[in-house]
Symmetry: C2
Subunit: 518 residues, 2 copies
């Protein structure tokens, strides 16, 4: 495998899984040529006139879809750690004796540990999608036959739209669907909220199979997935474990350090003037982010400020803000708890979005860059504000990218992170894996102080007279390095063996993940 | 122009406007090969990061879109006869000195008479879309430089999707929009209901311009048109005349003959057993159709029958049925009155649809064939149940096809028509123009009796013991021919000069419209 240095000075392979790659060229520098993918033209003459596309079981649907060795099969992760369908899908594929599948999920979860045996026996060739937990360890140790490909949610849409990834068969778990294939995630016993991550799959895959445990008469509305893109519908008993699909309720952090970070972030939004009438923000569903939302809400109420929109991942905390009139809209990408799902189902101002609307970099703009402030996490940040979110300092794959890279385009990108975890500094000389270039990262908020990217002179000026503990990133680095007794040990990796690559939002290669030597 | 006979035995040109054509091969017989159109890949790097795509005026937007001679410009007809924008658009194009535009509207209205001077002076080369009223006369008299192309709503979607028609610039009138280009028709002073007819244009055109007279802060929701597909946004004072965009209210017919037809249709649905719990139907907004809906509603109430869905064009009559619990959903394609718009805006069960969901024949099925019964009109029907909806017996272009062809795929297609108009029989030997093949037309309901297509033995049996005046079509034909003093005169046309062609839903050529000799 020949490695070349990209414009971020990271080593990346020329080819990945026999596909030629374009190295990262800088933000906004790579200009795509060419045209979008062009699915085959179909005709109603080949589909049942009465709209009933139900076939007897998943095996039958896969057969009719022409499943064979080497195909690309996609799934979505809206069922999160409660997903039973994907494991069952590969049980069926195994039973059919089909090999070398490229599995192209929107993300994977610990529950997918079940699939390791299929990676071992050659049913699955490799995964393109996040490899976390057991799958991350498996990949990091060099056991996967192909190279893993890590993309952001927007990058995944882009890769399908641009024809980089051709999906042969999309298998879409649908908590409610009709026989025509219209499907929604906002109701049914396996309700997961929305199905936006599967949108691109439904639009571009050659064959689309809807699998549901709640078949209703036509029309299933809302039709988050449109039956006009669907080939087959399969009914099964259960898509998964509702308790693991969504939390009954999400909880804010109880850690005093994390609470302090959350408070700093909220204070930063107020003092910098970002928190004003008509503003917008996005924060995830981690405990720190939830705490931030709670603090911000109090500030907004106190100052009489109303947001125009809040981006979800939604939780009961955002729903409360919507219902109390503190925002006009929630623009939601996924729902994390039951209150989020209820609100999405009942409140027209709780709006479904998708990676197409929110994150696709190869569109005519997207929502991410319109958002005034986004609060994210990271596993590592370096002195140039470069950040990592996929590996830990030990080199192991830990997380997927999710919408993280896409969100960096916000007008103010804030990483809310502890300065160290398990006595290992989070602020480092150089990130193990580059996932977010520093020029897009504006503010680092830790429990030891807040570092503003020097290029954001406007922000530095805006908070000059605040009481916030503004420091240089080097100062925080020095403090935490001293406290932890030095910089983290470099991971022992085999620089000749790339186990996964990190794509940038435009499909270029940003960095490589190497095999960890035990 | 070389003409060949297609499988319906109608003469159609081999080439139209220099584009090779496929003659009609029979229903469901033409199997498309190849792939969908593939728009160019764009990048966010070329669009404003803050999402503000507003440019100073329409001329500036057209310039940036690279307007030049010979391009295809599309518009939609949701503003109906109140449309001011399209006329203004061509004033601007004329002012810019650009020539030979192919105008590709979703339909045209009498208000577009303004454009005749641009057809005369070469600004517009020809129209692909319905040519009614003054434009129909102009075309029928052989004055248009190119050949008109008539497509159904579904056929228009198909032609764009399949790459038959490449739109250079789509100009989309939007009663409400935000600076990113998200747009809706359900609110604003020029509210027209929905914008579904412009969906394909927004998805496939190289350049998409939103023109609005109600610019709101991001996000404009619902986003019937997605800003992610939009290049430029233009603000103008007024899109059109609200009183002509929608009726304040729609009215049922007062004609005793039409009322009788409407009553027969409703009775037919009851007696044939089609009207039962969970059924579905579609009827347009003509006076007869409205009367039918009123009669049917009474029957449903009396029998305690509830529909699963009703297809719009919606009016206050359908809205009342929704609000009184007589249907679960209205699946709406366009709204004809203020009550329809209010309901669409307020009632989540009043659902927006588009030609993609409802009518595109080159999809994985569509809604039209799922509908239990559809009630349509026609200008002529012949003894083989073939029907015409675009020309009158004098040969002049009179109507567009609209969704008419697409709706023929309903499980029971009913033409509700007077047996004669202005003393000219509507039931004829042979239709002037073939728009709907008889094998898809099941029932003809006239004031003189009901004719059931002999191939529908099931329907004949179902109403055998009813009190309905079931006759053969020949009987009705004989009665009306005698009454009117003979069959209609054949129009004087120049069989060497095709002025327009009629496409079938699959893009093949069903028939030709010839120049009328005065």
């Amino acid at each position: 495998m020949k490695l070349i240095k990209n414009s971020a000075k990271r080593l990346v392979p020329e080819k990945v899984n026999n596909q030629k790659q374009i190295p990262f060229k800088g933000i906004g520098k790579f200009k795509p040529k060419g045209n979008k993918a062009k699915p085959p033209i179909k005709t109603c003459a080949d589909y049942p006139a009465d709209g009933n596309k139900v076939v007897k079981n998943l095996k039958e649907a896969l057969k009719r879809a022409g499943l064979k060795d080497g195909m690309t099969i996609s799934t979505h992760h809206h069922l999160r750690n409660g997903d039973v369908l994907t494991n069952y899908l590969f049980d069926v594929i195994k039973e059919m004796g089909v090999k070398n599948i490229r599995w192209f999920p929107t993300a994977s979860f610990p529950c997918h540990q079940h699939l390791i045996k299929y990676l071992d026996d050659g049913t699955i060739h490799h995964i393109e999608g996040s490899m976390n937990g057991p799958l991350g360890r498996y990949t990091s140790e060099g056991k996967m036959k192909g190279v893993g490909v890590l993309r952001s949610h927007g990058g995944r849409y882009q890769s399908i739209q641009d024809g980089e990834v051709h999906i042969d068969i999309a298998v879409i778990a649908a908590p409610t669907a009709d026989p025509f294939g219209n499907a929604t995630g906002d109701r049914g016993k396996s309700a997961c909220g929305l199905l936006g991550f599967a949108l691109a799959d439904s639009e571009y895959a050659d064959n689309v199979i809807i699998v549901t445990d709640n078949l209703v008469p036509f029309p299933c509305y809302p039709w988050q997935i449109q039956g006009n893109n669907v080939d087959y519908v399969v009914e099964i008993d259960s898509l998964g474990d509702p308790a693991k699909i969504v939390s009954g309720t999400t909880e804010v952090t109880k850690s005093p350090d994390r609470l302090l970070i959350a408070e700093y972030v909220a204070q930063f939004l107020e003092d910098s003037g970002i928190m004003k009438n008509g503003f917008s923000f996005q924060a995830g569903a981690g405990g720190t982010n939830l705490a931030f939302a709670v603090y911000l809400k109090e500030k907004m109420k106190k100052k009489g400020v109303k947001a125009r929109f809040i981006r979800g991942g939604s939780t009961k905390y955002l729903v409360e803000m919507l219902e109390e009139g503190l925002t006009d809209y929630i623009l939601d990408g996924q729902t994390f708890d039951l209150e989020g799902i209820r609100s999405m189902r009942e409140n027209p101002n709780h709006v479904n979005t998708s990676p197409f609307t929110s994150y696709n970099y190869h569109g005519k703009g997207n929502f991410a860059s319109i958002v005034d402030a986004v609060v994210l996490g990271a596993t590592e940040v370096d002195l140039n504000f470069n950040a990592n979110v996929v590996t830990h300092s030990d080199g192991y794959l830990l997380h997927g990218i999710g919408g993280w890279q896409n969100c960096l385009f916000s007008k103010c990108t804030i990483l809310a992170i502890p300065s160290f975890r398990d006595r290992i500094p989070v602020i480092v000389d150089e990130v193990t894996t580059l996932v977010g270039p520093g020029e897009l990262i504006d503010v680092i908020v830790t429990e030891r102080g807040i570092a503003i990217n020097p290029k954001r002179k406007d922000l530095l000026k805006a908070v000059k007279n605040s009481n916030l503990p503004i420091k240089s990133i080097k100062e925080i680095y020095n403090e935490v390095t001293e406290l932890c007794g030095g910089v983290p040990k470099k991971p022992k990796v085999n620089k000749n063996k790339v186990v996964a690559i990190v794509k940038w939002v435009d499909g270029t290669l940003l960095d490589s993940v190497f095999q960890v030597e035990r």
